[in-house]
Amino acid sequence: MHAAVIVFPGSNCDRDLAVAFERAGARVSMVWHKDTSMPEGVDIIGVPGGFSYGDYLRCGAIAANSPICRAVVAHADRGGYVLGVCNGFQILTETGILPGALLRNAGLKYVCKPVDLHVTTDQSAFIQGYTAGSTITVPIAHHDGNYFADEATLDRLQAEDRVAFTYARNPNGSARDIAGILSKNRRVLGMMPHPERMAEPLHGGSDGAAMFAGLVQQLADA
């Protein structure tokens, strides 16, 4: 399985994401934001956390219009897999690959702590390592993680079983406690919490590792 991890100026979780994919058995290529295409044979693109382009204008807005993001959109349009974590989730909503937007946290503060997440679906390659209904612990670290979409969009996401994770205790005001959502074809996941930062015992927990292990297994079999 071949994963590409995008590196924007200001990304700071790109290496963590690459290590998480590698430990799960994937081959990883780092891809610079000025590149215009993906390496040959990429199965999944990781859009990492951080502060791409200094979060200027809006979180993810400049990155969403960068040269490499056109290749990310093309990959998603072809039915390719994409994982966006934190700033990566913000970027995916800014490109329109995923619906909604991430607003400033309702409490206005940057929140950095482990949180409990309910796994709310098992219908996706991203969730193969988990059981629907279970609870996992992974950290969040964001100032703008307050998921917003209009009521009709929220209803549609829930009706189509596209909410992947919800917060057990809402830390940021997100609509319907949403922590992560899937695209319509279930091959794009955007989430604010960081599974790559809870991927081995030295991190203080390894609940995030199952996402990468499950993905590698699913995509290797495909």
Binding site: A101, L103, R104, N105, N146, F148, D150
Partner: protein, 79 residues
């Protein structure tokens, strides 16, 4: 030609920063502040001299980059 773009969160969207400013105004003794919404102003210097063309291109800029129309509304002022 100069263009000035105002970007505001849409009316149904919670504005926590505006709320924080409202609370701060209250604690400074300003009474009767019933609501505060915080937005941004973007000034653009354009080579274009035709107002209609300038408005069209700035509107496109807003749709593509300057505003996220999922959560924000915008208005364009020329001159």
């Amino acid at each position: 030609m100069k263009a000035r773009v105002h970007v505001m969160l849409k009316s149904g969207v919670l504005d926590p920063q505006g709320e924080a400013v409202r609370h701060a105004l209250g604690s400074l003794g300003f009474e009767g502040v019933q609501g505060v919404r915080q937005g941004k102003v973007i000034e653009i210097d354009l080579a274009e001299t035709d107002a209609a063309k300038a408005e069209a291109v700035v509107t496109e800029m807003c749709e593509k980059l300057l505003a996220n129309t999922v959560i924000e509304s915008y208005s364009v002022e020329l001159g």
